[in-house]
């Protein structure tokens, strides 16, 4: 059974490795100091289990998981207790608060080993991307993968979003990015005073709107600074008017 330890503190990683010595069936195949390395390593080694810190350079633990297509089972190790709910929403096996004891760590690993079907757990973790959560976005940014690279989009740089089946297309000045989350997820998690779902398939950054024109019977079109023309439904128009204060 393969495991990877991802933590930006070398001592914290060595601690996990030391505690793992009593579980010879688990082999540590890699150690990583940040989320970027973590992704590469997960793709290379296809581990069964991750020991994952949350606050890390580049991208945090949650953002890292979002970018992995079929994430392995995860045990979070962190000094922050405020992410516990989010962690369990991500179907983490366990959430260890630093500093933790050998016993507490052992319980988490035994919980993992005792899972009736580990494969099922894997599937559950990959649902992280779709699990609706009302928590605001971490650090006001969205992390996407484009080609082999990772791109960090600051929320204020988003021009608009368009639905594409179970994915969402994110339009920015730097290009268009695809993310495996739904429109309703973004409708709930983006700041409501600057993003409005004007249409079933569109969310618009209101700062980008230059004018709104009537279109066909009861609909409107929002014209953006970039020149893009975004459909606005009847209910979308009501929401838009409320946010713009008109």
């Amino acid at each position: 059974m393969k495991a990877i330890i991802i933590d930006d503190e070398p001592l914290a990683r060595s601690m996990v490795k030391e505690y793992l010595q009593v579980f010879p069936q688990i082999e540590v195949v890699a150690e990583c100091g940040d989320g970027f390395e973590g992704i590469k390593s997960v793709i290379n080694h296809k581990p069964d289990l991750l020991f994952l810190d949350i606050q890390m350079p580049k991208i945090n633990g949650f953002e890292m998981l979002e970018l992995i297509e079929e994430p392995p089972a995860v045990i979070f190790t962190t000094a922050f207790d405020e992410y516990a709910i989010r962690a369990f929403e991500a179907h983490a096996i366990d959430y260890l608060l630093k500093p933790f004891s050998q016993e507490r760590f052992g319980k988490a690993v035994i919980k993992y080993l005792g899972q009736p079907a580990i494969l099922q757990q894997k599937k559950a973790t990959s649902q992280l991307a779709q699990s609706p959560t009302h928590l605001p976005l971490q650090n006001d940014r969205i992390v996407v993968k484009t080609g082999g690279k990772i791109k960090i989009i600051v929320v204020s740089q988003i021009v608009y979003m368009e639905a594409a089946d179970d994915y969402t297309k994110i339009y920015t000045a730097d290009g268009v990015f695809l993310k495996n989350k739904t429109m309703s997820f973004y409708e709930q998690s983006l700041p409501a005073n600057s993003f409005v779902r004007t249409h079933r398939s569109y969310i618009v950054n209101v700062q980008e709107i230059t004018r709104i024109e009537p279109y066909e019977k009861e609909n409107h079109l929002a014209i953006l600074r970039s020149g893009a023309r975004i459909p606005v439904s009847k209910s979308g128009y009501t929401k838009l008017k409320a946010v713009l204060g008109i």
Binding site: E9, L11, A12, Q55, P57, K58, A79, K98
Partner: protein, 342 residues
């Protein structure tokens, strides 16, 4: 401006009742001493309407100008002047309206002193009532401000405490110690000592100003702990060319913490954090420089993260907005603060 007593419903009702009963009493007395209903009606209505007007003038002027406690003679003067004006106007008006009533002129001259006295009493009564009202309002306002200020300072103190304790820093350090205990017991022991010294420093009795040397020593402990946590990645350079300088408590630490957050927690390379202290004229100038990862975090040019509270403190202490400056040069973020020496 405080709300006028004239705007309260209770006062308006009382004022109305008072006006009408005063008029009725006036009318009754005049008929009792033998004046005709016609004359008594005119006299009572005109005099009391004008008197009501005079009291309103008092109330309004007190809304704009409330005499200080030792200047009540002004108030007395105002009441006397208003009473004289009232008697004159009501006399002129009544004599004009009732010029055909026999002997009314003589009656008015006879009663002028009584009228003047009554008018003065009524007007000063109103003045007194208003002074009380506005003083009470002032008092309430001051109390409110005081409570607000106290609440704010409590909050700040609490926040301060919470920040000083930095639970995440503490738990992560304990985790490192936990790892070191087995692998390098001597180092674990050293780190416990450093952590204890650092915590003791934050719990010390708080003076408003502290010597720069002391603050730098305290920060060195903090940085030494971070060095253990992040190994070789962190190096620091502290240069103090400002002997005997002083600085307000808890001013430099948030800036250094900010430098650690952007420079160390959010980067992956080896980094150096530089702290330089210089003296220029009567100012202590501090430069704090840290690298940052432009790919993932772009510090706010104005306030960076967590620097707005520093800016606020500097403003509260010195009433100046220009004491905190930041600059970005390639991947280096520099915070410069200027502290006028006491």
């Amino acid at each position: 401006m405080p709300t006028s007593v004239l705007k309260t419903t209770r006062f308006r009702t009382a004022f109305g009742i008072w006006c009408s009963s005063w008029t009725a009493l006036h009318f009754y007395i005049l008929t009792k001493i033998g004046l005709s209903y016609h004359v008594a009606l005119y006299d009572s209505v005109v005099s009391n309407l004008l008197l009501a007007g005079a009291t309103i003038v008092v109330a309004v002027s007190l809304q704009f100008y409330l005499p200080e406690s030792n200047k009540y003679s002004y108030l007395l003067g105002l009441c006397v002047v208003l009473s004289i004006i009232w008697v004159s106007i009501s006399g002129a008006l009544l004599l004009f309206l009732l010029h055909d009533a026999t002997a009314y002129g003589a009656f008015f001259s006879h009663s002028i002193l009584v009228r003047g006295a009554m008018g003065f009493l009524t007007i000063s009564c109103m003045a007194l009532l208003n002074v009380l009202w506005y003083t009470l309002q002032d008092q309430k306002e001051t109390d409110k401000r005081k409570t607000e200020a106290e609440r704010l300072s409590k909050e700040a103190e609490l926040n301060n405490l919470r920040q000083q304790l930095q639970p995440h820093f503490l738990f992560n350090s304990l985790n490192s110690i936990n790892a070191l205990i087995v692998q390098q017991p001597q180092k674990a022991r050293a780190m416990i000592e450093q952590l204890s010294d650092f915590l003791r420093g934050t719990l010390k009795e708080q003076k408003e100003w502290i010597p720069l040397e002391e603050e730098l020593q305290h920060l060195e402990l903090y940085l030494a702990i971070e060095k253990v946590r992040f190994g070789h990645r962190l190096s620091t350079s502290i240069l103090n060319e400002a002997p005997n300088a002083q600085l307000p408590l808890m001013l430099l630490q948030p800036i250094v913490e900010n430098a650690i957050k952007f420079g160390l927690y959010d980067t992956t390379d080896d980094i150096t954090i530089v702290i330089e202290a210089k003296r220029k004229e009567n100012n202590l100038i501090l430069h704090i420089t840290n690298p940052f990862d432009p790919e993932t975090s772009v510090p706010n040019r104005g306030t960076g993260f967590g620097l707005s509270s520093v800016q606020r403190r500097l403003y509260l202490l010195f009433a100046r907005q220009d004491l905190l400056q930041t600059s970005i040069n390639n991947n280096l973020f520099t915070t410069i603060i200027k502290i006028p020496q006491p």
